[in-house]
Structure formats: C-alpha cells, structure tokens
Amino acid sequence: MTMASASDGRVVLDAGDISRALTRISHEILEHNKGASDLILLGLQTRGVPLAKRLAAKIEAVEGHPVAVGSLDITMYRDDIKSQPTRAPHKTSVPGSIDGKTVVLVDDVLFSGRTIRAALDALSDLGRPAVVRLAVLVDRGHRELPIRADHVGKNLPTARSERVRLKLIETDGEDEVRLESVPTGAAPHETVGETE
C-alpha cells in the first residue's frame, strides 16, 4: 500500500490490493455458493460492472468454466429521482432468467445503502432469485438503511466529511482507491467512483 501526498488524500488500495481483494471475494463467493452453479454476478452501473466482470474472470479461472455476468442500472429506482435533473439510464442486461438463481450484486463503494435498496427493487422487477448476496470493494459505513454486504474488499472507516475516490482501469485508466477530505461546502458524495 502506498501513501500519497496530503493534498491528494490517501491511497488506501492500490492496483495490487484491489486485485487481491477481488481474488478473495471470488473465493468467498464460490465457497458460499458451493461452486459456480446457478450463480449470476450482476454489476451495478457503472463501476460495479467491470468489478463483476473481473470477479467472473477470477471465478472462471478457478472453476474452469464461465460464470454468468450482467449489469443492472438503478437510475429509475433511485429515491432521489425527483430532486435531481434526470439522467439517461445505463444498460441493464441480465444473462437469462434470474428465477431461482443465486444473484450476487457487485458494487464499488457501499455507503448509505440506498443504491442497494434501489437495486433490490430493480431485481424484483426482473424475477425472483433464490438468494441475493452483496459484494462491494469498499464499505465506508454511514448506512441509512438496514443493509449490509456479504463480501467486502476493504472496510474503510470514514468521516462523513471525507470522500472515497475509486478509479478502475476500465473506466478511469487506473486502479486506485483514495480517501480524500472534502473542502467545506462540497457534497461528499459528488465524486468519481462513488455511486451513493
């Protein structure tokens, strides 16, 4: 783990840490599910999607056959939809039916829990999975709803005034999780790599 200068905040996970965290999560998922049968990884748009794909690749490397992976967009299900300008939704693509399957929702940062609540609503419109689990790369706390993750890459105690800046090669050109102080007056959640 490397430390950056104070003005840029602090790097809490570098590329190697992210890779190791995802490897561990992929093994945890396989262990819980007793293999990769009836398993679907659904990444939450936008940065959850590349994370889900990476987890699927790691699971495939262990199991020897591909695992179903898709993407879920929750724009229409947000509970703050009325208080913001509308955004165009991203792609939702689910590989086949989710009925009776084990669905693992994959997201980058778990914060208030509102994104996951919306994702559970979106999921119930798509079918009825047997089990839904949640995997996140970073859990920064400050939950506003009774939601917890089953698989966590890094528990990161934060102050509300701090923000977690997560970058991935697929979307931002590099792998890095950085903890930054937010200047007074700025909203801590308006940041790259944090969906809540």
Partner: protein
Amino acid sequence: MKNLLSIDDVSLQEVERIFSTAAEMHDVQAREVKKLPALRGRTVINLFFEDSTRTRSSFEIAGKWLSADVINLSAKGSSTSKGESLRDTALTVTSMGIDGLVIRHPASGAPAQVAAWTGVPVINAGDGTHEHPTQALLDAYALTRKLGSLEGKHVAIVGDLTHSRVFRSNIKLLAKLGARVTVVAPPTLMPSGVGPWSAHDGFATSYDLDAVLPEADAVMMLRVQKERMSGGYFPSAREYAVTYGLTRSRLDLLKPGTPILHPGPMNRGLEISPEAADAADSLILEQVSAGVAVRMAVLYHLLAGEAEA
C-alpha cells in the same frame, strides 16, 4: 427542456439522450414486469381534442409503464362539448394538481398557448398542421435502429405535405441528425412558399416519385388527410395511388433493404399498397413499439426529475 411543443425545443444532445433512454425503455417492453417506478406519484392528463388511437394509447401505456397515473380526456363527452374554452379547460385540469399535460388539438399552436397559460409541462401530441414532435422522434429512433447513424442518409418523405404536421417535425429533426431529405408530393399538396422554406431547412422538393425512390435510403409515406381537405386536391383516389402511391411495382425501384415508414393510420390502396405496408422492410409496426419507448423517454426526461432552471 421544460415542454416539448416543437422539435425546436430539443437540442441534438437532448435527442441523443432521448434515444439512449428509449433504447433502455425498449428493453423494458420485453420484460415480464413492464413497469419502472420513475414517475410514481405523478399524474399526467392526456387531453385529446381530436380523434386518436395510437398516439393516445401510446402515451397512456408509456405513462403507465413509468408508474404515473394517467387520465384520458377527450373533447367529446367533456366540458368542451358544452362550450367551455380551451383556456378554461386547461386551467381547470391543471388546478387539480397534475404534473404534466399531453395535448392534441386541431388548432396549430394550441399546446404552446396552454403551456403559457398553465406553466405545467406540456407535450404536443399533434397540433393542427403545425408539429407532432414525438412522432418525428419515434420515426428517427426507429430509423436509427435500422440504419445506424442517419448522417448523410437520404430520406424521402412522400404524400400529403400540406396537411402534415408529421412532415414538419420530421424535416427539422432529420436535418438535426444530418440526414438529407427530399419531399415528394403532387403540386396541389406541396405547401405554398416551400421554396424559401426548403432553402432554410435544407430539404429538396420533387414532384417525381419514380426519380426519387431509387436514390432513397428510407421512404416515409404520409397519410392523405381527407378530413382536412376542403377542395379537390387530386382528380381521383385511383390517380393519386398510381402517381404518388407506394405501389407494388414501385417497390422494385427501391434499393434492397430500404425501410418503409408510415405514421399511420394507413389508407391501404391509396398512399400505400398492402404489399408495401406488409413488406419485410416495412418499419410500420416497429414505429408503433418505438413510439411507446420514445414517449416513455420523453415523459421521463420531462417529468421525473427536478425541473431544469
């Protein structure tokens, strides 16, 4: 975008946003549960002062699939048939606390007037011979899905141009998307003053359908609007069909795979032959399903979020 009264209200960027949203809405139509909660708690009134089947039901389905409460009012059987003015009707329904109005009216400019009176977001679902912006959006969306980018594509719009609001919205939108448009009509149905107008909006005019069809990348046939015709615009239906209809024999003039569009309802045997309407390259039914997706996208961007300043 606060209202959608004309294609002039939407920038190219907003059109692209509507199309990408519509693509997601299209996927929702294939699901078992065709509902999204985006407009939950919002109420939309469809105020139709002219007969309509597809536009009204399309807006109704679009609103309902976004979880809005949708109420249909038509002029027949409502207070307007008792002599109430448009202004009083509009102010009455908006006083009920609704969030959006979809209006079709025989008078050009009526939706714009209602928007000015009420301040409620208004969508023009066809006003007189002025515009029908959601029809143009769904036409262009269906064409984009078929042809990819419309940049440089040649679209022929054929038929009763004088009475067509669909054509007026389409030439603006197709130009915005970079398409080349040629409009074809008999001289009696070519709008007066079309010369300077076509120079301004960048479309070509022609009276010769057979010359235009081989060059077209898409053909959009328009309905002959007999209900708006006060005089004889052509000698007989038979002559119109022979000269300007998309007949079975004219299909051979088209390049293979050229999509055929029609906003409906069709006069089969007049502007379009059954063979053309039911051809493999006909997009007519796809236009209908695209209509729901595009109207969902428009309702969502207009009504779901916080109003733009």
